[in-house]
């Protein structure tokens, strides 16, 4: 980590440590907006970390943002921090000023006509709490970034299994800000997969830490269960899965900084999302097995992370979807093209 990343890492850990706890997450699941947490993140510039300095952002890059996103995943922060960071990135690229308020991202089936947006977006994170949503739309003009105010959108509340708001937003000729995106048409899905992969890496780190700690504390047959080889072997697997996703996500973030079109990082982002999906199935299973019945209660906090992993692995393209894409790309390059491609990146 460079100096900026170390500072970011310390300050985000402190912010989330101070403001995220079981009560806050639980209240958020019951529908309460964690205003204190959100305000603290905004005040400290975390939501605008990828917004250029000229637009009052931190002007940081994905490798820096990676530190913040991973911490958000590790703490199960019940706010659209990752979405706001992505929205800032997309708006910054398009040169659209980032509005005050809560800005989220959305994917949908949209039509853009004379600066008016129509269509429906499903599973929009914190749509009900957001003031604006950002998307990219392919129109006759190319790929355009769209900043849509939400006061004229119809909002149907929904949620994922982590009980994070995932709302349906409908637009009917809503006046929006637009600009040439400078990003591929699937930018929300692509970078959405990136932010989720990084958050998943954070959540997996949490699972490892929490499970090791529990195994060292819980005593059965006269000794901590972590002293049993059966448990040790399971926890070793959990930790290796977490480590794999950690580096896959970091690699994707680093790669996202190196390309101007955005498209060229798709390979590494797909790798990260697939790897995170694969790991989360094994890791959640082991974490719950090690925690036993207590981990299955609502009272214990383990599920805040495991339910997020079960949700996130399917968001912005499941592992299956990205694996399919990776496989097709591999076929297109041919059997003997795989190794040269992998080593040239």
């Amino acid at each position: 980590m460079n100096e900026l990343q170390t500072i970011l890492s310390d300050s985000i850990a402190k912010l989330l440590g101070d403001h995220v706890n079981k009560e806050v997450i639980q209240q958020a699941e019951e529908g309460q907006w964690p205003a204190e947490l959100w305000d603290a993140l905004v005040e400290n510039g975390m939501t605008r970390i990828l917004v250029p300095e000229a637009q009052e952002g931190a002007g940081a890059n994905w490798e820096d943002a990676h530190v913040v996103l991973k911490a958000a995943g590790e703490h199960s922060a019940p706010v659209p921090l990752a979405e706001a960071i992505l929205a800032g990135f997309i708006l910054g690229r398009a040169g659209i000023a980032v509005p005050e308020g809560v800005v989220t991202v959305m994917e949908g089936d949209f039509k853009l006509e004379s600066g008016r947006l129509s269509g429906v977006a499903k599973s929009v994170a914190w749509g009900r709490n957001a003031t604006h949503a950002v998307t990219v739309v392919e129109s006759g003009w190319g790929v355009e970034t769209v900043l849509a105010p939400l006061q004229y959108a119809r909002i149907e509340k929904d949620q994922n299994v982590a009980r994070e708001p995932r709302d349906t937003l409908s637009f009917d000729h809503v006046v929006v800000d637009t600009a040439w995106a400078g990003l591929p048409g699937n930018a929300v899905r692509l970078y959405g997969a990136l932010i989720r992969s990084i958050q998943m890496a954070g959540a997996l780190d949490y699972l490892t830490r929490a499970s090791v700690q529990y195994a060292n504390e819980r005593t059965q047959f006269g000794k901590p269960i972590g002293k049993f080889q059966a448990i040790q072997q399971q926890l070793a697997v959990l930790s290796t899965q977490s480590a794999a996703v950690g580096i896959a996500a970091a690699h994707a973030a680093a790669r996202a900084d190196k390309v101007s079109s955005g498209d060229a990082a798709a390979f590494e982002i797909a790798v990260a999302k697939v790897r995170a999906d694969d790991a989360s199935s094994a890791a959640t299973s082991i974490a719950h097995q090690v925690h036993g019945a207590i981990g299955f209660t609502y009272e214990h906090g383990l599920h805040f992370a495991t339910r997020r992993l079960w949700s996130w692995r399917a968001e912005f393209g499941s592992g299956a979807e990205w694996a399919d894409w990776l496989g097709r790309e591999t076929f297109a390059r041919g059997a003997d093209g795989l190794w040269p491609y992998v080593t040239a990146r």
């Binding site: 896959a248 690699h251 790897r275 592992g319 990205w322 059997a335």
Partner: protein, 380 residues
């Protein structure tokens, strides 16, 4: 809890020229070697090929020039290794000497031992095997019983080493012998001249695939002179630990089934369409991630850090990946593996289906590695 860490590591731009040079070399050298032979990668032995690599300066790449090395970076070495493995080059003859025995002698060997041996290893002319396992000492290495008894001018060795890969080709064995009854501090490493020592019998052991890569090596009053003791008497256990870190740290720990992955893609492509794309995509995701982890270990080696724990993580994940390959190939294509007949895919599948069980045994079993990782996590 910060037990192991995988920092991103990017290969320096300067390695690109070297990579191309290796590819050009392999394009010529491997042209007529069938896929099923290439699938043996670092188990395949070809002294002539090793000598050619030595002439290219691709063995002992990191060693000091005074010992025949080339003082190249860990990244240069990494690029050569991964290109050799991905192409299926027969690097087995010199692999162990280059990977662990040479570095061991650099760390602990005497000046005389280094001068005598390292230049020959770097030329691709001198090969090593590892004398650790015994009939009653596998994962439990401290149970080593082969005894080196002090006699005039050296040691008299009696006992048996087992599963010794390449002993029939090797000039030397780095052997772990018992010099006193103390469990850990009674172990000492020796350099054993296999070609010029009386009282050593090497018997091949046929593996389940019918190949004879590993051996039983019996010592009957074999004399090993004092100057062939490596490091200090009683430090064998600690030295072996350092040696195993080298043994586990390379890209061969995830690339052993790579040739099958390539043939699998080729076979699927014959069918046209996108059948199997998703499964191949998953394998690609795992391959790319493992490579990043493996590169991270190379980065630690370059900085002079000790990647013992990280190497265990990569080896454990890598072996699972390698062993999954024939399973995936079977599930996806449903084509019977063959021996001696059939196309490249069928033969490579035949070879690897039979060989992969050893991948989580050699160099430390899966259970031992996971035990090491658990210790790193603070559970032991």
């Amino acid at each position: 809890m910060q037990t192991f860490r995988f920092d991103l590591c990017e290969l320096p731009e300067e390695t690109k020229g070297l990579r191309q040079e290796v590819r050009d070399f392999l394009a010529v050298e491997l042209k007529h070697i069938p896929a099923v032979t290439r699938a043996q990668t670092w188990s395949g032995s070809d002294p002539e090929f090793s000598r050619k690599m030595g002439a290219k300066g691709w063995i002992g790449m990191r060693w000091p020039k005074q010992y025949g090395g080339h003082e190249r970076s860990a990244f240069d070495r990494y690029v050569v290794l991964e290109e050799m493995l991905a192409a299926g080059a027969p690097v087995g003859a010199h692999w162990i000497g280059d990977r662990q025995s040479g570095p061991l002698l650099l760390n602990f060997g005497t000046e005389e031992q280094r001068q005598l041996i390292l230049p020959k290893v770097a030329r691709g002319e001198c090969y090593f095997c590892i004398g650790m396992s015994e009939p009653d000492s596998g994962s439990d290495l401290a149970a080593t019983r082969t005894k080196a008894e002090k006699v005039e001018g050296g040691y008299k060795v009696n006992g048996t080493k087992l599963w010794t890969s390449g002993a029939h080709h090797a000039h030397y064995m780095i052997a772990l012998f018992r010099t006193s009854p103390d469990k850990h501090t009674g172990l000492t490493q020796f350099l054993v001249d296999l070609k010029n020592t009386d009282g050593i019998t090497i018997r091949p052991i046929k593996d389940l695939a019918g190949n004879s890569h590993f051996n039983e090596v019996v010592f009957q009053d074999a004399f090993v002179p004092d100057n062939m003791l490596v490091g200090t008497e009683g430090s064998g256990w600690a030295q072996v630990g350092a040696e195993l870190a080298f043994e586990r740290s390379g890209p061969e720990r995830y690339l052993s089934s790579f040739l099958l992955m390539i043939e699998m893609i080729r076979e699927l492509q014959k069918r046209g369409g996108t059948e199997g794309a998703r499964e191949i995509g998953r394998l690609v995701a795992h391959l790319v991630t493992l490579r990043q982890m493996s590169l991270s270990v190379a980065g630690m080696l370059d900085k002079g850090e000790n990647p013992a724990l990280e190497a265990s993580v990569v080896k454990d994940l890598g072996a699972v990946f390698e062993q999954d390959m024939p399973v995936k190939a079977h599930e996806l294509l449903g084509i019977a593996p063959t021996v001696g007949t059939g196309n490249d895919f069928e033969q490579v599948l035949g070879y690897l289906t039979q060989t992969v069980p050893s991948f989580s045994l050699r160099g430390g079993t899966r259970e031992i590695l996971r035990g090491i990782i658990a210790r790193g996590l603070g559970l032991r």
